[in-house]
């Protein structure tokens, strides 16, 4: 099969995307597919028209690739693609939107408030900030609504630190979230098709938070997969993750990030296109389920073709 691997682009997570794509391309070649590597830019439509791939493997991260924009183009061209559809991508990318959907579906997610930059610039929303203390408490987490890899995420220990954190978060997006900080274990559940994979726990090094550096540097964070959890905990975590996956309309694959705190699991976000780099969580979870990286890539392709109604792939 001719597989277009969509990667790179203008997103700030370009580097992560290129690393994910490199692994995918390698696996595809070993699986015997014809690989068409596409660094997404102004010539994407031209290249897709000229090359006519059988399926597109979307290895883009961040706005532009993970938010449904590219997926919409692929739909127009009738090219089956991996991962969730346009609507699910758009919902997952925008954390504010996603959290509303989760709450409506009864999936636990930490309390939050979302603000547009205009609200502060033109509507005096700063005056409302003080009212949020009792609702969210401190410390709280400030993050851009659309963004990934923890870029622009700041912790504010008191109100004094909120404006600065907001300025940082608004550097990445015109909308930000102020979210209750939940203390607990950092877990991730990847879902493949409709099947949850084993739970992964990210254990940051001493004094580290699981930030951008910790995510992509080998050896900075220890991962436990499957995470050491009781059966009841695994059940609750998996149920929350699946609930989130369905509430956001995901298909193909996705990864839910959760915190397991005193009051049970809370879903922080769902990644429509989870990282596939050497230190990413989905490949680790797949491996714990007995799948090699090639198995994982092949399964993701199959799911893409099934959902588009295309014939079973010829190998």
């Amino acid at each position: 099969m001719k597989v277009a691997v969509l990667k790179g682009g203008r997103s700030l997570e370009r580097g992560v995307s290129l690393r994910s794509a490199a692994r995918v391309e390698d696996a595809l070649e070993r699986l015997g597919h014809e690989v068409l590597a596409l660094d997404v830019g102004g010539d994407l439509v031209e290249r897709l028209t000229a090359e006519r791939p059988d399926v597109a493997f979307v290895a883009l991260h961040g706005p532009g690739g993970e938010d449904g924009t590219t997926q919409e183009l692929l739909e127009i061209f009738g090219i089956p693609f991996t991962g969730p559809g346009v609507a699910a991508c758009a919902r997952c990318m925008d954390k504010a939107l996603a959290k509303h959907a989760l709450r409506e579906a009864g999936v636990p997610t930490p309390d939050w408030f979302a603000f547009n930059e205009t609200a502060f610039r033109e509507l005096g929303a700063a005056d409302a900030l003080g009212l949020l203390e009792e609702r969210l408490g401190f410390p709280l987490v400030v993050k851009p609504s659309r963004g990934g890899s923890a870029l622009g995420v700041k912790f504010a220990a008191s109100w004094l630190e909120v404006p600065e954190a907001l300025v940082s978060a608004f550097s990445y997006d015109g909308r930000v979230l102020l979210e209750r900080y939940v203390e607990g274990r950092e877990l991730a559940v990847s879902v493949l098709g409709d099947e949850p994979l084993p739970v992964v726990e990210a254990i940051p090094g001493e004094g580290d938070r699981y930030d951008f550096e910790a995510r992509y540097e080998i050896g900075r964070t220890t991962f436990a997969c499957p995470a050491e959890l009781t059966e009841a905990e695994v059940g609750a975590v998996t149920e929350a993750a699946l609930g989130a996956y369905r509430a956001l309309g995901c298909g193909g694959f996705a990864r839910a990030d959760l915190i397991l705190g005193e009051d049970g699991p809370q879903v922080l976000e769902v990644n429509a296109i989870p990282g596939l780099t050497d230190t990413s969580l989905l490949p680790q979870a797949a491996e714990a389920a007995g799948m090699s990286f090639e198995d994982l890539v092949e399964r993701i392709l199959q799911l893409a073709l099934e959902s588009s109604g295309a014939a079973t792939p010829r190998l």
């Binding site: 700030l12 580097g15 951008f212 540097e217 491996e287």
Partner: protein
């Protein structure tokens, strides 16, 4: 007859995460101190062709005449192909050292060629100095901010890095003095003080003569070495030349690091170090272990180039070009940066250091600026301890005056947006004070001029 098909490029397969853990178990402890960063990933985005990059430290090699390059390489091919393609001595060729002596002579230095080693760029000289002097945990002192490229070298040798703050007159040597005494009290003796005294990277400041004298005195007194990194010494656009530390000290306690990168080409990877003989002996052994010798081919190129006798004129041409670009950047900063920003006014070199209000994180600002297709280096890269978050390094040698103006304008716009937003968030509206003296804004923050206030 058809060529055999070239197999497609194959990436090394990392199929199993377990394998990675297995590698991680093999890593040396020092790799723990080697940090990658979010910034490095952001820098991947700055490589887009539409981005105006004020981030690099690139000299403008487009000014080097291609026909001259071609003539020299042709002459080497015709006359010395076998030698130029062969290994060379670890210390470097005598002929290369002659060129180095010419460059150092232009700044008033006259070292013994025996004390000189030709290195693969100035960067290797820094690495070799650390290799020779630093055991894990040893104290290394440098400026705050310091050359961002030196930080990973110090870290990879597991040095305990102590940074001494700078003001408009370079490293505050009186603070260094206090720190040396404090360390002596703890029974710790730093191995060396690393400094870029002229047109410092990244701050653009130059160490005053008084401080230069005091620094070499302190080195003598405490029997520690000073590593003088001087890539830009000849790139002076104003003010009076100051004697290098090496000249003031006579070479007993100063290791001098030089390079052809900024006066000729960084692509030839030719630098050098001058060190006291016992230190040089170890540096040579270290160099031998690292790469046996510096590129013979590029040493031949430099030899031919210097034989032409117009290297000084080329440097003079560069000085003219860069002076214009520096002035364009300073003018653009005055026009486009908000009143809350301050910056240095370098008399030479390649960089201006700008400092913004404390609530602006220049790492996040870079993300925003990249949306407007412009890049700079966030200040944090110049510190080992997370300081510098509200500063940035701007390069004015790599792109033309038009792009400099446009780039600074775009950065100014994103800063102004953040200043305004912060005002809206806090209720503070620090409007630009009308008619404020421009000189106030070109002062350095958080720097102070020597002798003014502070310790």
């Amino acid at each position: 007859m058809s060529e055999p098909p070239i197999p497609p490029h194959r990436r090394r397969a990392h199929t199993r995460t377990r394998d990675l853990e297995r590698y991680a178990g093999l890593f040396a402890e020092r790799t723990g101190a080697m940090r990658s960063s979010a910034m490095r990933d952001l820098m991947a985005v700055t490589a887009r062709p539409e981005v105006i990059s004020l981030a690099g430290g690139l000299p403008d090699t487009s000014t080097f005449p291609p026909q001259s390059f071609a003539a020299q390489m042709t002459r080497i091919a015709q006359e010395s192909a076998a030698e130029a393609l062969q290994y060379g001595p670890t210390e470097g060729f005598e002929e290369t050292k002659d060129c180095i002596l010419q460059v150092m002579g232009a700044e008033g230095m006259l070292p013994d060629p025996e004390d000189v080693i030709v290195t693969t760029g100035g960067q290797q000289a820094i690495d070799l100095v650390c290799k020779t002097l630093v055991d894990p945990g040893d104290v290394v002192i440098c400026e705050a901010p310091t050359y961002p490229g030196a930080v990973p070298v110090f870290c990879s040798y597991q040095a305990a890095v102590l940074q001494i703050e700078c003001d408009g007159d370079g490293m505050r040597v009186e603070v260094l003095e206090e720190e040396l005494e404090r360390l002596a009290g703890e029974g710790r003796r730093p191995k060396f003080v690393y400094s870029v005294p002229s047109f410092q990277n990244p701050a653009g400041v130059t160490m005053s003569l008084e401080r230069r004298r005091r620094l070499v005195e302190l080195a003598r007194l405490h029997e520690l070495l000073v590593v003088e990194d001087s890539p830009y010494g000849l790139l002076r656009y104003g003010g009076e030349p100051l004697p290098p530390l090496y000249q003031l000290d006579g070479g007993d306690y100063v290791i001098y690091v030089g390079t052809f990168s900024k006066i000729l080409s960084p692509g030839i990877r030719l630098g050098w170090a001058v060190a006291p003989p016992p230190v040089m002996e170890k540096i040579v052994l270290g160099k031998q272990a690292s790469d046996l010798c510096t590129s013979t081919l590029t040493q031949y190129f430099v030899r031919e180039y210097f034989a032409e006798g117009r290297w000084r004129q080329y440097v003079a041409d560069l000085v003219e070009i860069y002076r214009g670009r520096r002035d364009a950047m300073l003018e653009a900063l005055r026009e486009h940066f908000p009143a809350q920003a301050t910056w240095t006014e370098p008399e030479g070199g390649l960089f201006i250091w700008a400092t913004l209000p404390e609530y602006i994180d220049t790492g996040d600002l870079l993300a925003k600026a990249l949306g407007d297709d412009v890049a700079f280096v966030p200040g944090q890269a110049a510190y080992v301890d997370g300081r510098g978050r509200n500063s940035m390094r701007l390069n004015f040698s790599g792109v033309g005056e038009g792009e400099i103006r446009e780039g600074v304008k775009r950065i100014g716009k994103v800063i102004a947006e953040q200043v305004e937003l912060y005002g809206a968030l806090t209720g503070e509206h620090p409007a630009a004070p009308a008619g404020r003296d421009v000189a106030d804004r070109t002062n350095v923050l958080p720097f102070r001029k020597a002798g003014e206030g502070g310790a």
